[in-house]
Amino acid sequence: MLKYDVTVIGGGPSGLSAALSADRANAKTLLIEREASLGGILKQCIHDGFGLLRFGEKLSGPEYVYRDIKAVYETDIDVSLLTFVTKTEKTDDGFILHLVNRDGVTSVFTKTIVLCTGCRERTAKQVKIHGTRPAGVFTAGQAQNLVNLHGLMVTKKCVILGSGDIGLIMARRLTLEGAEVMGVYEIKSEPSGLSRNIAQCLNDFDIPLHLSTTVKRVYGHDRLEAVEVAKVDEKMNIIPGTEEIIPCDALILSVGLIPENEIAEDLGVTLDRFTKGPHTDNSFMTDVEGIFAAGNCLHVNDLVDYVSENGALAGKAAAEYVKKERKYAKITIDRTLGYIVPQEIDLTTDLSKVEMYFRSFSTVKNAVLEIKIDGNPFMEKKYMVVRPPEMEKLVLDLSSAGLTENSVISFGIVKKEGDING
């Protein structure tokens, strides 16, 4: 049986970075990818805007990810393509992974695992869309795959539900391909995607954005013929009488991403109820010793640059992993935050540069992030605005915070009082 120090599951941007950093830390590394080539979802993201933070350049998805793919093939990292993890087993000193690929079923031993399994798209039925089951209902990523990788024109006239980034990108993409995008509908009262995408994908193409409006039903027996949209109130309940039928041939859904953690769950990893990703410490290790998580399976990111960075941290931590007694401080959030990652701090690690990611629960202008330790103010950070669609990253020095086992670090957002510019 082949033996590895680090096995990275998933060859998208987080997996590539994780494998590269594990390799740089001299770990014998295996990178497993289910598809025929590395790159993950970026293979189909032919629009630009990737890499501004990391490379200071605006790259397309394939260009961005090619840099890491090229780097991986210049190392000794074992890459196993078209390979699926079918079964996992925990042993005393690591894990056995049973892999399926064209060569058969093989098993490898690995000391650590970095889960980089990405996320999947929420589907029509998961947002309670009813009606018939015609062809022409696509998730945005599915439509993007068909258009960009298969060269198939999936619509001539469509409605997009959800103003998440992929939905916005697809609104522009389909318009460029000659389709008529009747509008982007968003159940929330504010857009879910990045502001820059609202400007560049909708406003620049005169595509209307309808807030507090959702799609209720689809019509059409074989191919979609129309959708019914309706306004919703503050509690997101449909307001009777506001229904409107919009004739179109496709419904494109960008209604949320769900971290893919089936392998994690099989291995007994606890998931966080806010992120739907593994509960991790500041090394991005889950509550199962030796299993790390990074990228979109940890929490859904909005920028790939963060995904890569996060992957690198997790990969390095996995390479440096040694089994030992650990002491933890807890992290809690109040209802002003949507989530925070990580969820606990391993006090036996270097605490001078703890990287954290969070989202606010709602949009707050002139916001102050208050961090308290055991109820006592530790630090504050000011933001012009925090918005749920825009993830915020924090780097904290907690080395002199006096953390002890069972310390609680709490996070909350308050609106800055008395700001005359507010």
Partner: protein
């Protein structure tokens, strides 16, 4: 019931708007009503449960336009002039079971269905339960055949190579009457032939399934209840019939028939005229329409839709068999088994169905109200399952007569037709059994005019498409070494390989659509609902069938997925 009494009742309820008449042992209900519920009420009032004297609904319904039957766009002469011994109309479980039983004889057999695949209507849209019949009493066809059919399932499924499991049906009650339940069990067991009927104490109930809500007093168990994939079974029956010489023509709809002197001479379809010796009416919700074309309409079908929800496999652990809670609900609909929570053969949970009368035979729309009704009911059995666990839902339409029994008989006014109508739950359970008797009836009719010999080369065994994810790793390894495509996982949720998809496309009844592949080997049945694998499935269909990706359909002839290539897409050859 006397006709006079029926008309008195109708008069009282509808003040002269409808009336009933009896002619040739058929009760015709006529008049005009604008509410479909009233139509159902009137016909139900005129009918007697399990009677062989059927109600024919001739009420003019003015409340809405009853939609035309959906038909495929295809028109050719592929079947024109074809002479067959038996023409089966309808590719649901009823039609295919009879077709397969008939293939035990040396006969020219043809089955037609208007859809692009078998099991498109009721047989593909039910809960897959193999019933024990405990809700039925002696003295009707449903009761007779549910018992016979249930007993056949192990053998049939093993012959046809599809998974079947007797998971057992157990349920608790909120009622205090232990005696009533014990008495019910005793009567069912000793007087109605439900041999597996058992009374359960609360202790035993919770031993069987500790995840049931606390507070149930006692319950019942029927260990013969099983689960099967209804569409997989239908397809398997169809394929086995084809293996034994039968023909199946999909996208083929019957437009009309030429009947002379009580004999059907010709059946006109969109693919040409067919000349059958005997016609089998297995047309489900359209059985009345087929009977009408055959000039032998002596019953009516009143469609009744029901919606089922499927939840993520992660919830599979909560219920290991078929369960529901019995409690008194004055508003509960009468003509349904009431639904339940079912641990499906593929380890999801299925919740439902509800039951709503409808004038639309093929409206498969789902409504949130249906989901709510089912969840409100089933959370009384196990409240661990939430609507947020749902991965999909679907609607099916049942095909009952007003007498609510099966019709399994030779035509009354026409000699060469056999009606298998009114087949609703427990039709899936009963079909393997009644198919044998109906095949025999058909053969006897044929023997009136021709010699019929046994098909000595009949092979009951259909080799299944291998399901690699369930294999021991060593066997799976061996399979992949023989065919590396078995090692390429296409559907990550259900762990389906490219090789299995290609097998489905090379099976005896090829249905090269995304839905066709999905029904056979399950890519797209999982929690992402094809989000990842659908584009890959299109590619595999395109490569295997030698058709452009742009021509791959979702299902029916008009269910196109794309409008051709993107700008410049044609460069990619």
């Amino acid at each position: 019931m006397q006709l006079k009494k029926i008309n008195e009742n109708l008069e009282k309820e509808f003040a002269g708007r409808v009336s009933a008449s009896l002619e040739d042992n058929i009760i015709h209900v006529t008049g005009e009503l604008d509410s479909w519920d009233d139509v159902i009420k009137a016909c139900t009032m005129a009918s007697e449960r399990y009677s062989k004297t059927h109600v024919v609904n001739d009420i003019r319904f003015t409340g809405a336009e009853i939609p035309e039957t959906r038909v495929p766009s295809l028109n050719d002469k592929a079947l024109d002039g074809k002479q067959v011994d038996v023409l089966v109309i309808g590719g649901g479980i009823t039609g295919v079971t009879v077709l397969r039983e008939l293939s035990k004889w040396n006969l020219k057999l043809l089955l037609v269905d208007k859809e692009a695949d078998l099991a498109y209507h009721g047989s593909g849209r039910n809960d897959g339960q193999v019933h024990c019949g405990y809700d039925l009493s002696k003295g009707n066809l449903k009761h007779e055949y549910v018992l016979k059919g249930n007993a056949m399932y192990d053998k049939v499924c093993s012959e046809l190579g599809i998974p079947f499991k007797r998971v057992g049906q157990y349920g608790g009650t909120l009622s205090d009457s232990r005696l009533a339940i014990k008495l019910f069990c005793f009567v069912k067991k000793h007087f109605h032939g439900i041999k597996d009927m058992e009374y359960l104490s609360a202790k035993r109930l919770y031993e069987i399934d500790p995840n049931l809500n606390p507070g149930l007093k006692f319950g019942t168990l029927n260990s013969s209840v099983g689960v099967v994939s209804p569409y997989e079974l239908t397809i398997a029956y169809g394929e086995n019939a084809i293996m034994n010489g039968a023909e199946i023509s999909l996208n083929t709809y019957v437009k009309d028939m030429e009947v002379f002197d009580g004999v059907i001479n010709k059946v006109m379809t969109n693919r040409g005229d067919i000349y059958p010796k005997v016609v089998i009416n297995a047309a489900g919700v359209f059985a009345e329409d087929v009977a009408k074309m055959a000039e032998d309409r002596f019953f009516s079908i009143h469609p009744r839709r029901g919606t089922n929800s499927i939840t993520d496999k992660k919830t599979g652990k909560y219920v290991k068999g078929v369960t529901s809670v019995k409690y008194h609900d004055p508003n509960a609909p009468k003509n349904t088994k009431g639904g339940g929570i079912i641990h499906t053969i593929h380890d999801n949970l299925l919740l439902g169905p509800d039951a709503v009368e409808t004038y639309e035979k093929e409206n498969f729309e789902t409504r949130q109200e249906s989901i709510n009704v089912v969840f409100n009911k089933q959370e009384k059995a196990c409240d661990k399952i939430k609507q947020s666990d749902i991965i999909t839902y679907f609607t099916g339409v049942r095909a009952p007569t007003f007498e609510e029994d099966f019709i399994l008989e030779r035509g009354r006014a026409v000699k060469n037709i056999v009606h298998l109508a009114g087949i609703q739950s427990p039709g899936l359970t009963a079909a393997p059994a009644f198919a044998i008797d109906m095949a025999e009836l058909t053969v006897n009719i044929l023997k009136e005019t021709m010699e019929v010999t046994e098909n000595t080369s009949f092979n009951p065994v259909r080799k299944p498409i291998p399901c690699l994810k369930d294999m021991p790793l060593a066997e799976r390894d061996r399979m992949i070494k023989e065919n590396p495509d078995y090692g390429i996982i296409v559907c990550r949720c259900e762990e389906i390989s490219k090789g299995e998809i290609i097998d489905a496309l090379k099976s005896p009844l090829t249905v090269p659509t995304v839905d066709g592949v999905k029904k056979r080997v399950r890519p797209g049945m999982g929690r992402c609902q094809g989000g990842f694998c659908m584009p890959q499935v299109i590619k595999i269909i395109s490569e295997t069938m030698g058709i452009p990706e742009a021509e791959v359909l979702k299902g029916n002839t008009e269910a196109f997925i794309s409008f051709g290539k993107t700008k410049g897409g044609e460069i990619d050859a």
